[in-house]
């Protein structure tokens, strides 16, 4: 046991018992981040802030929300939106923050791909990040059901029905997920549980693992330059701050992040108060009605690329039903980013995309294709739209099939 002495003050008292000073050094003042970074490196902190917004507003909403199909819609749209003081603000912030989280996740994800931050020791950062993406997707989907509006109901109906595509046990799985033959009260209550308890717990744990996985390979930098963090941090501590290639997390790195967060939150509140339809679809302000199918059923914008991969295969090919091909493609699309570090067969070249001769085209093609998929995932799948969706879905799969070959080829060029 440590030798406890009469303390010189509160901090010292705490330090003798919890080693807070050493803890702060490890977590903040001597946690080293490369200096050569740009604002895209602040997206992680922006996501933490957004998650905080979701957590706090979620707790406030939870005080009034009623998870019952007869009460849910009114508890949201009357009690929270109209009766509770600033209830509308908590709901708008919650809804817009959910959408904004996905926008930032996508920026964060593409930043990781562009700067090669998913390989050469950083695989676990990437994989835990993709686990977070899936956990957030489940969180968003379960949350979208809670207001029990038209799209809550019909999206739940369509998405849970996808599991019927699983061979042999599919139909039973659907009933097991719904807790009923159709989407009903049992479905709402269990998705409520997932949304407010299980998934947030999972997310918090995986966020911790995601941060932890950053400690050993360190944060990447703009040029993917490899240097010795020990030597550079000593330079900084000796006072050769300008010469050192690293900065401490606190206050230097965070001072920049606060600025980026401020800039982003300014836009966020403009969206919350004036431009919220993209995140809170008007059709969901119509109460769920199992007798009235909406003219257009579509998921929230951040699931559209995925949905279009599913829907893009609209005709049978070689005796295989269109629905089955779509489902297989959908499953691949959901896991293919996870295995990206292993599809890249040029593991030693961690340079940013603009310094990689072939990969850069692959990257921008992927970005454009995913935007096309997103847009056509919302448009009615008729006429030429269906074909654009088909081509974009095939291209999406093709890009990931081509990646090992492209990167292998690139690796050969690098070796020469």
């Amino acid at each position: 046991m440590a030798e406890i002495q009469k303390s010189e003050g509160f901090i010292d008292w705490l330090d003798q018992r919890l080693a807070v000073k050493a803890f702060m050094r490890v977590m903040m003042t001597e946690y080293w981040i490369p200096k050569n970074i740009n604002f895209l490196w602040a997206m992680g902190v922006v996501l933490v802030v957004l998650f905080g917004v979701l957590l706090v507003t979620g707790l406030l909403l939870l005080m009034y929300y009623k998870p019952d199909i007869n009460l849910a819609f009114d508890s949201v749209n009357y009690t929270i939106m109209q009766e509770v003081e600033y209830g509308w603000l908590w709901r708008h912030m919650h809804g817009v923050a959910a959408s904004a989280t996905f926008l930032i996740i996508y920026i964060h994800l593409f930043t990781g791909i562009y700067y090669g931050s998913y390989k050469k020791g950083r695989e676990m950062i990437w994989i835990t990040g993709m686990v977070l993406f899936i956990a957030f997707s489940a969180e968003a989907f379960s949350g979208y059901m809670l207001p029990w509006g038209q799209m809550s109901y019909w999206a739940a109906q369509v998405i849970t029905n996808l599991f019927s595509g699983i061979p042999v046990i599919g139909d039973d799985v659907v009933i097991w997920i719904r807790g009923d033959y159709v989407v009903a009260d049992a479905t709402l209550t269990r998705f409520f549980m997932l949304h407010v308890v299980l998934l947030p717990l999972v997310i918090i744990v995986v966020i911790a693992v995601h941060f932890y996985s950053l400690r050993f390979p360190h944060v990447n930098n703009q040029e993917s330059e490899v240097f010795d963090f020990e030597i550079e941090s000593e330079k900084f501590l000796e006072g050769r701050k300008k010469e050192s290639k690293v900065v401490p997390f606190w206050p230097v790195f965070l001072s920049k992040d606060f600025f980026v967060v401020g800039f982003f939150m300014t836009i966020f509140f403009a969206l919350v108060c004036y431009q919220f339809d993209f995140a809170m679809d008007p059709i969901n302000f119509e109460p769920a009605n199992s007798m009235k199918t909406p003219a257009h059923i579509y998921p929230e914008w951040y699931f559209l690329w995925n949905y279009e991969v599913l829907r893009g295969f609209f005709f049978d090919i070689g005796g295989m039903a269109a629905m089955d091909i779509g489902l297989i493609a959908f499953v691949i699309a959901n896991i293919v980013f996870m295995i990206l570090p292993f599809l890249d067969r040029n593991p030693m070249n961690t340079g940013p995309a603009h310094k990689r001769p072939v990969f850069k085209y692959w990257f921008w093609l992927l970005v454009c294709d995913m935007i096309v998929l997103t847009v056509y995932g919302k448009l009615p799948p008729t006429g030429v739209n269906a074909w654009v969706g088909f081509v974009a879905a095939v291209l999406f799969l093709g890009l990931f099939i081509a990646l090992p070959f492209i990167t292998k080829h690139e690796a050969k060029g690098d070796a020469q």
Partner: protein
């Protein structure tokens, strides 16, 4: 400089995606329709001026057997339930009918209710409309009735009153404690459809859509059971304003608080920037 370039690229792709899934996708899903027609151009306008006195006699002889005129103390002869089971739908109160409905529309409606309401897909010889046609009256008599109805009250109807008279026979406004006059079961057998509660319609349909929709429902939704009721532009604005005051009653608070929140974050950003510059001066 590099940071601005990156920001420009990020903003560009975000903007393209936003444009694609919001304005562009919605323009594809909801094809453009002609704007609201408050002139009711398909109805032949009245050619004669009405006489209020003879209109009064005509209304007393023809209308008040079914309709109430509460502003004159004339109550409906039947309860809502009895009227609904007798006619299918509760006949509207006529206190403000001459003011809130367009005059030419009213004349056209008296002559041929089914084509004025654009409900020929729902009503005809086999299933008669609750309101009989008065096409046996002369043009002058029709004009007299319209003139009298427009002369009943001098006070302007409140937003809620317009809603109750024009919409409240079928639609409830639960969040304002208003229940549709016609019981849902009668309405369903009469129209073949239920009339939804409209408490949140201002958020689910938005004011712009509603202004075209209320003016002529059939133009927006094929085969819809909702009639064209012939509200004047001003009255329809009152209905939409009432819907907003119920379904989006925090709009004013939202719009004024928005400025404060944005201002707060802008000041935060400025201070954060100055702090960042100061901190990074030491390391760069």
């Amino acid at each position: 400089m590099r940071e601005f370039k990156i920001l420009a690229i990020v903003l560009f792709f975000t903007a393209v995606t936003y444009w694609g899934v919001e304005p562009y996708a919605h323009s594809q899903m909801h094809p453009h329709v002609a704007p609201a027609d408050f002139g009711f151009k398909d109805i032949e306008p009245l050619h004669v001026n009405g006489n209020v006195e003879s209109g009064k006699a005509l209304v007393e002889a023809n209308c008040i057997a079914c309709h109430s005129i509460k502003s004159l103390g004339l109550e409906a002869p039947m309860s809502f339930e009895a009227a609904a089971s007798a006619y299918g739908v509760v006949p509207p109160d006529l206190s403000h009918a001459g003011v809130i409905y367009d005059k030419n529309y009213l004349a056209g409606f008296l002559k041929d209710p089914v084509s004025a309401t654009k409900l020929s897909h729902k009503f005809g010889d086999t299933k008669p409309y609750a309101m009989p046609s008065f096409n046996y009256l002369s043009e002058q008599e029709i004009a007299d009735i319209v003139a009298y109805l427009g002369n009943i009250v001098s006070t302007k109807a409140s937003n809620k009153m317009v809603f109750e008279e024009a919409c409240g026979r079928c639609h409830s406004m639960k969040y304002d404690g208003f229940k549709a006059q016609t019981p849902a079961s009668s309405l369903k057998s009469y129209l073949g459809a239920e009339a939804p509660d409209v408490s949140m319609m201002i958020r689910s349909k938005k004011a712009e859509y509603l202004s075209t929709f209320i003016n002529e429902p059939l133009k927006m939704v094929e085969g819809i059971a909702m009639p064209r009721v012939g509200l004047t532009e001003a009255s329809q604005e009152q209905v939409v304003a009432y819907m907003e005051s119920v379904g989006d009653r925090k709009k004013a608070e939202r719009e004024s608080l928005g400025l404060k929140l944005i201002g707060f974050m802008a000041i935060f950003t400025l201070i954060a920037y100055l702090w960042k510059v100061q901190i990074w001066k030491e390391v760069e």
